[in-house]
């Protein structure tokens, strides 16, 4: 569903953010995107969201390709790719319900369906009782839940989350993460960028893509993610860990020699 083919992204001022990165994320898959600050995690998410175009290579999201997409098609793509930010980005003057309704209304939903869908989404993220609360009246975890509900408003195929637990305490982080897991189990793919080693250790079965200095240095699920058509360009180049799981020292040595494959 999401495929990076030899993607390089070069910014004119800050230089190379990604270098020759290839991977494939399947439908309804859950992927941790990890690596130190400046590793290129946000750039990967921005490429998937088509906020930026690759300098080289190709990004394919469902039927959209970065090399062929037209500007007027990007809104359609964005409706299929939900984005959750670390800083929530809620409109402070709107209530929780109105923030979600806003996303529905600006994408053309009619009033009658908006109301019922907002309530369903709020119920889904466990905030039905807080529908009329303003963001300032909500806790960090609750705000992030509203942001997730908003991202789900357009029924996306994939949810991108950029350090969604970065501003939350451990308990709220776990609650939000469990919500992502629950949404994933219902069929929405999730790519969650984080450098929270605790989170990675807590969910060892989850696929991990690790970036360092703009290169993909580790993909715990490369073999499983090999495209069914036999196109192995995005998986054969990785040297997988024997058990496919990140080690406890992931955060300390994210690109350890044992599992860092050759630069793709």
């Amino acid at each position: 569903m999401i495929r990076f083919r030899n993607v390089t992204k070069h910014y004119p001022r800050s230089g190379t953010a990604l270098a020759n990165v290839s991977f494939h994320v399947r439908k309804a898959e859950f992927v941790f995107l990890t690596g130190p600050s400046g590793a290129g995690k946000t750039t990967v998410l921005r490429l998937v969201h088509m906020e930026v175009a690759p300098t080289e290579g190709e990004v394919i999201i469902s039927r959209f390709s970065s090399t062929r997409i037209r500007r007027r098609e990007i809104p359609q793509l964005r409706r299929r790719v939900g984005f959750v930010f670390q800083d929530f980005r809620l409109l402070e003057r709107l209530t929780a319900a109105e923030n979600i309704a806003f996303a529905l209304q600006v994408t053309g939903a009619n009033r009658s369906t908006t109301r019922s869908k907002v309530m369903r989404l709020l119920d889904h993220v466990g905030l039905a009782a807080r529908a009329s609360a303003y963001p300032a009246e909500l806790s960090g975890g609750e705000r992030q839940r509203v942001a997730i509900a908003r991202a789900l408003a357009t029924d996306p195929l994939v949810l991108l989350a950029d350090e969604p637990t970065g501003n939350l305490d451990e308990r709220a982080s776990l609650g939000v993460f469990e919500l992502f897991k629950q949404l994933n189990s219902l069929g929405t793919a999730v790519i969650l960028a984080t450098h929270d080693a605790t989170l990675l250790r807590r969910y060892p079965e989850t696929r991990v893509l690790e970036l360092e200095g703009g290169r993909l240095v580790y993909d715990s699920g490369a073999a499983a993610a090999r495209p069914p058509d036999g196109d192995s360009d995005d998986s054969s180049i990785f040297e997988l860990m024997p058990d496919g799981l990140p080690r406890d020292d992931t955060a300390k040595q994210p690109s350890g020699s044992k599992r860092a494959g050759p630069a793709p």
């Binding site: 964005r78 409109l91 994408t107 053309g108 908003r150």
Partner: protein
């Protein structure tokens, strides 16, 4: 309806900014309105003077009835001519004695009437410009029984110079103020776009179309322009009433000008908003 609803909400949410913007547009268009009032009244005064522009063709004394009828009908058939009036020698003398009262005692004693008969030729409205008047006069002077043709060439020239100056000034002053009004609307819309940047970012994030994002700002420009036009109309009316009551009789603007002024305000507002939208939101969905 949504763009207008959102535009109104946006304007109401920033009442001071909106009021400043509408007032600025209103004042700019008010200046135009005052100029329009002046131009209209000058134009009407000029038209009244122009009404008096006529060609007088003096006839030779030896012209007979048949020849006179022929000359009248031929001149009357000119496409530029509205009417041809014959003034006989007797009428000319009577008119002269009436208009020149100080010589009224002399006229009854004149044994031979020295004044010639004449044809007073009026041209159709819109055909009284110096060129047409000169051309028609030259054509008339070619008739055998016409002794002399007069048409106040200098007056005709002066009237038309005045009108040209009035038109040119209207164009320059009006254009300048329209430009100022456009800059003001553009700035207001740009400030609205900046004030709503977080909303725009979310709309772009969730996949609202570019047109959906842009339309409320265009509507905001349109509403500001129309409101400014209405304010300008109200101010111009107050100025008209004051002038009419205290200084001199003044004519109110024609209905078409009023409608054109308000619609023009709206169009100006939307054009200015469009320019700001193109500049500020050119990055929408650009990758």
């Amino acid at each position: 309806m949504r763009p207008f609803r959102e535009a109104v909400i946006s304007l109401v949410r920033r009442p001071v900014l909106a009021a400043l913007s509408v007032t600025a547009i209103g004042l700019s268009l008010f200046i135009l309105g005052l100029f329009g009032l002046t131009a209209h009244n000058i134009s009407r005064a000029l038209a009244a003077v122009e009404e008096k522009v006529e060609i007088v063709a003096y006839l030779r004394d030896e012209i007979d009835e048949a020849q006179l009828r022929l000359v009248r009908s031929e001149i009357g058939a000119f496409p530029e001519v509205q009417s041809v009036e014959y003034v006989s020698k007797t009428e000319a003398l009577y008119n002269a004695s009436r208009e020149l009262a100080e010589f009224s005692d002399v006229f009854p004693d004149v044994e031979v009437n020295p004044l010639p008969a004449s044809l007073e030729i009026r041209l159709l409205p819109g055909r009284r410009d110096p060129h047409t008047v000169g051309t028609v006069a030259a054509r008339i002077s070619g008739y055998e029984f016409i002794d002399e043709v007069r048409f106040g060439r200098e007056w005709v020239n002066r009237i038309h110079t005045l009108r040209r100056i009035a038109g040119g000034t209207a164009l320059i002053v009006g254009g300048s103020f329209a430009l100022v009004a456009m800059l003001l609307v553009g700035t207001t819309v740009r400030m609205s776009i900046h004030a709503r940047s977080s909303e725009i970012a979310i709309m772009e994030n969730v996949g609202a179309t570019a047109g959906f994002i842009q339309r409320p700002f265009l509507a905001e420009g349109l509403i500001s322009g129309l409101a400014g036009g209405a304010l300008a109309l109200a101010l111009t009316f107050v100025a008209y009433r004051l002038l009419d009551r205290t200084v001199m009789a003044v004519l109110w603007l024609p209905d078409l000008w009023i409608v054109a002024g308000i619609v023009g305000g709206g169009v100006l507002g939307m054009l200015a908003a469009g320019r700001s939208v193109r500049r500020e939101l050119k990055g929408l969905y650009a990758i």
